[in-house]
């Protein structure tokens, strides 16, 4: 039941915010904060109580809720959690708190409706991470689109309409392709077994010829690759990230992109191991192109938010690489990168947002010498840039390092190319620091340094990155059992397929 509570608290909290905001926006903000915090505490409690998450041999899930929805069609309201979704859910609620706090003074118009959308997009994302009935998954997948669209289109910056529509159309089209694949899988499973089911654990052993599997897999893959985003379907991302309000950017970078990674991990490879294996050369090469291309483009930006946006393309390239390499090291690396990128990029968006609130621009030409007037904000920004470019001792480094190690076992060439991407990242990182923070204060900015509220957001994020960088073991322990399960199902099926071939 706790899984339902996760979603219900956010949904009800959002509605309450909207109603209350007519009388008091402050109360609305506090309700939003309370809802996200309550979920965060619940999820932490769940984690601590079950740490490290072990799964028995026959057991897929740590906890689940399974209600019949439409019986005839085999559709269930089935939420379940294992190590992977647990970590992502904790991340979701943490970044939820961050985005509520980050909007505290930024959003002044339509406060109630803003928080309604904010909490509902979080609810949708939680639904995506928890749904294990493919119908429910698609339901949540589409549902999280709408509040995000509103967040960008109403509270975004200059080109918000363009960005919001582009975001919507990309996700909508790719989502529909996934719907076709889900239904194809459903009917293939039915013709093989005579059972109608959208259940993840039922569908996971569905055998089909390779050429069919490849097509069905591609439907899923495209949907997730667009969200991830993978080059060349990434073009919605810089616009959406740049134009969204701070909370929107944090959620986009920290969570929405992760739903793509999660989908690849949870569905694409385990459901279609053979096809994924067949496809992995293409995917890994596109991943490496993404790493390099994202880094180079980030370096070329003069808009701070856009720069941070392009770094996401690069970092998520690592995640894609890790997932399609599919060995233990690379998968662990992908998971750490997912979390660390969520924190570090989220924090960078918070800081750029805080800066924009103060100086009303994101252009590097208008910044410079900020260190002299706002040392604490600048110091924090430098910390997260360092994390983002992979400074050892911080979370991102661990993730990317593990991915490179894992990739090395498979292909030296890809490893070298990806490692060059790490090198490029120093370029954009240093550019950010140099152009925005260092130098002399030519524009004579005199600004207020971090407010207490902002310190409250930033300090835990610094601690988490240090924790991930120095002692990531608890996170990895939580993931191990799930990873073994995913790898096991994938390899079993692949063996079965190869056995059938001989």
């Amino acid at each position: 039941m706790i899984l339902v509570w996760f979603i219900a608290i956010l949904a009800v909290g959002g509605a309450a915010c909207w109603v209350v905001a007519r009388w008091s926006t402050a109360v609305c903000r506090w309700i939003a904060l309370a809802a996200t915090a309550a979920d965060f505490v619940l999820s932490l409690a769940l984690w601590i109580r079950n740490y490290p998450v072990n799964l028995l041999r026959q057991q897929y899930w740590l906890l689940q809720v399974n209600w019949t929805w439409f019986n005839d069609a085999g559709i269930h309201f089935h939420l379940a959690i294992d190590g992977l979704s647990l970590l992502l859910v904790v991340l979701t609620f943490f970044l939820g708190i961050v985005s509520v706090l980050a909007s505290w003074t930024e959003i002044r118009e339509g406060v109630g409706f803003f928080h309604l959308n904010l909490l509902w997009v979080l609810a949708g994302i939680t639904g995506v991470f928890l749904a294990v009935d493919l119908f429910l998954f698609y339901f949540a997948w589409e549902l999280m689109l709408i509040p995000m669209y509103f967040l960008i289109a109403i509270w975004g910056h200059e080109r918000r309409v363009y960005a919001a529509v582009k975001f919507f159309l990309f996700t909508q089209l790719s989502g529909l392709l996934m719907l076709i694949s889900i239904l194809a899988l459903y009917f293939i499973h039915h013709s093989a077994t005579g059972v109608y089911s959208f259940e993840y654990s039922d569908l996971i052993g569905t055998s089909m010829p390779l050429h069919v599997a490849v097509w069905v897999m591609l439907g899923f893959f495209i949907a997730f690759a667009v969200k991830l985003p993978m080059v060349p379907v990434h073009t919605w991302l810089p616009d959406a990230h740049t134009e969204a309000p701070t909370a929107g950017s944090v959620i986009l970078a920290g969570l929405l992109l992760k739903t793509g990674a999660y989908g690849l991990l949870r569905f694409v490879v385990p459901l279609f191991p053979t096809a994924a294996h067949w496809f992995s050369p293409v995917a890994t090469i596109l991943a490496v192109i993404g790493i390099l291309y994202g880094a180079v483009l980030a370096f070329a930006q003069t808009d701070l938010k856009r720069l941070v946006a392009y770094t996401s393309v690069s970092h998520l390239g690592f995640v894609l690489l890790g997932i399609f390499v599919w060995n233990k090291l690379a998968l662990e690396g992908a998971l750490i990168t997912i979390i660390a990128h969520g924190i570090s990029t989220g924090a960078l968006f918070v800081l750029v947002g805080a800066l924009q609130e103060r100086i009303h621009t994101r252009e590097m030409d208008r910044t410079g010498g900020l260190w002299q007037t706002i040392p604490r904000l600048s110091g924090a920004a430098m910390f997260f840039v360092m994390a983002s470019i992979g400074l050892p001792g911080l979370g991102d480094f661990v993730g990317e390092f593990l991915i490179l190690l894992g990739t090395y076992k498979v292909s030296v060439g890809l490893t070298v190319a990806a490692a060059i991407g790490v090198l490029f990242s120093t370029l954009y990182g240093l550019k950010f620091i140099q152009r925005a923070l260092h130098g002399s204060n030519n524009h004579h900015w005199e600004l207020h340094d971090l407010f207490a509220r902002e310190v409250v957001i930033i300090a835990p994020m610094i601690l988490i990155l240090l924790w991930l960088g120095l002692f990531p073991q608890p996170v990895l322990n939580t993931f191990t059992a799930t990873m073994d399960k995913l790898q096991q199902t994938a390899s079993q099926q692949q063996q079965a397929y190869e056995g059938g071939q001989q």
């Binding site: 929805w69 439409f70 019986n71 005839d72 118009e109 339509g110 409706f113 119908f135 698609y138 339901f139 949540a140 589409e142 549902l143 689109l145 709408i146 669209y149 509103f150 289109a153 109403i154 309409v161 919001a164 529509v165 919507f168 159309l169 909508q172 089209l173 529909l176 392709l177 719907l179 076709i180 239904l183 194809a184 459903y186 009917f187």
Partner: protein, 480 residues
């Protein structure tokens, strides 16, 4: 002769026929808009209630013309319920205008009777009768606000084109009759397989012309030209009526005709429908892209949506009838809701048709904007709305019979379609709350219309979240 059970079976139709007569008689004695609406709703409610009585004796063949089975009754229910909603919306709209109000309801219920006859028809004669009862009422309904030029244009245009299409239809019927010598669907099915030689050459043009006639009414590409003008000129409740009741009746007939005659075994017919479906999906969505007029957007979107329904229809797997019927119901709720918002926003001088009329609506009248958003999201096919389940069903029907090309075109064109719905949604939320407060307007009072909208929205969400009970009813209803 009609047996006793037969009379019970056509009770819903009889009640629909009695209502306009009663309205007419009472209006001659005492004119009252409120009473006319009340009587209309009473008649419709009685007819709706009698569906259960008729269901007890169904299936029944009533003369050679009508087949009252579970399938026809489901469509009766849809048609009557839609008319109730349209009548509710029309009340507030007509109050604003200086026209005779009572006749509107007479025409409306008569048109409903025509659509219901179509849904039950299994014979060319009842087909044509139903169609004409429906069309002739619609000519007048379209031009009801006769002081407006656009309304007159809509009426005339609809008159000319509908008459032309009826002529084509009639010609097609004649050719088929010449080829097989019967006008009754069941009989026709047997004879068609046996027909050979020169008679067979008559059959195909006949079928083509019948299909053309139906495609006109359904506004499928390339027979869609009248749609935007008529939707724009007609009063919004009437546009909603054309989009739902009129098309629903025809679709019910098309499905029955198709299944009785087993036309999915007839390759040329399937090819023609496939081309029409693709053209409608792409055409409707592309033409709507840059439209600044909300009524025209809804018109083009209705073309595209009929294309989607055709996909399920062509797929013709076991899911097809279910998918078509459910999609139509979802579409009924959605499009009446959307036109309902247009109606409620319209004033005496203008109908709310330009996008400007919707700009910042959310900050002025959040509930109304919320309803419009829900309807538009349903048209896109976003979860929690009926449109989502509908689209899911259509894609499932396509996938179950491996019609991949059609589904992929559906997916692409519906993504294109999302663009123009988003434009409307964006307009609803544009601007800032402060700006809206300054230009706060006094909302015209349309209590009745607003409550219809509330019911439609609840229905929309209910069907989007828990359609199981409705699906249960639909599943039992196969066209006989």
């Amino acid at each position: 002769m009609i047996s006793g059970a037969g009379l019970v079976a056509i009770l819903p139709l009889l009640l629909l026929a009695v209502t306009p007569v009663a309205l007419m008689l009472i209006s001659t004695i005492h004119r009252s808009h409120r009473m006319a609406l009340g009587l209309t709703l009473l008649g419709l409610a009685a007819s709706f209630g009698s569906l259960w009585i008729a269901a007890d004796v169904a299936p029944q063949r009533v003369t050679a013309l009508l087949t009252i089975d579970q399938y026809a009754l489901v469509y009766f229910g849809m048609i009557i319920a839609a008319t109730v909603a349209v009548a509710g919306l029309a009340y507030g709209y007509l109050e604003q205008h200086a026209v005779e109000k009572e006749e509107f309801y007479i025409l409306l219920v008569t048109a409903t009777l025509g659509a219901a006859v179509l849904a039950a028809s299994s014979h060319f004669v009842s087909f044509f009768l139903g169609l004409e009862i429906l069309s002739i009422s619609l000519y007048a309904l379209n031009a009801y606000i006769y002081s407006r030029k656009t309304a007159l244009e809509a009426g005339i245009k609809y008159l000319v084109l509908a008459a032309a299409s009826a002529a084509i239809l009639l010609f097609g019927m004649a050719l088929i009759y010449a080829a097989v010598g019967t006008m009754e669907f069941g009989h026709m099915a047997e004879l068609m397989t046996e027909t050979a030689g020169p008679n067979r050459t008559l059959l195909l043009p006949g079928l083509a012309m019948v299909i053309t006639g139906m495609a006109f009414k359904l506004a499928l590409v390339p027979f869609h030209m009248w749609t935007p003008d008529v939707y724009q000129g007609a009063p919004p409740p009437v546009a909603a009526f054309i989009a739902t009741v009129s098309k629903g009746g025809i679709f019910a007939l098309l499905l029955r005709y198709f299944y009785r005659l087993e036309l999915h075994n007839y390759a040329p017919v399937v090819v023609v429908f496939t081309i029409i479906a693709i053209a409608s999906m792409l055409g409707g969505n592309l033409l709507a892209l840059l439209q600044p007029n909300v009524k025209r957007i809804l018109a083009y979107s209705s073309i595209a949506h009929m294309g989607y329904v055709l996909v399920a229809f062509i797929a013709s797997g076991m899911l097809a009838v279910e998918a078509v019927t459910f999609y139509l119901i979802a579409y009924f709720v959605t499009i009446i809701g959307a036109f309902g918002v247009v109606t409620v926003l319209s004033s005496r001088e203008y109908d709310a048709e330009s996008l400007e009329a919707y700009r910042g609506l959310f900050w002025r009248r959040p509930a109304l904007a919320g309803v419009m958003t829900a309807m538009l999201l349903s048209l896109i096919g976003i979860p929690v709305t009926a449109g989502f389940i509908g689209k899911f069903y259509v894609v499932a029907a396509g996938a179950s019979s491996s019609a991949w090309a059609l589904i992929i075109i559906l997916v692409i064109s519906s993504s294109v379609g999302a663009f123009y719905y988003l434009r409307v949604i964006f307009a609803l939320y544009a601007g800032t709350p402060e700006a809206a407060e300054r230009s706060a307007e006094v909302a015209p009072r349309m209590a009745f219309g607003s409550s219809v909208l509330v019911v439609l929205t609840l229905l929309l969400v209910w069907l989007g979240v828990y359609p199981a009970p409705l699906l249960h009813v639909i599943r039992a209803a196969l066209p006989g």
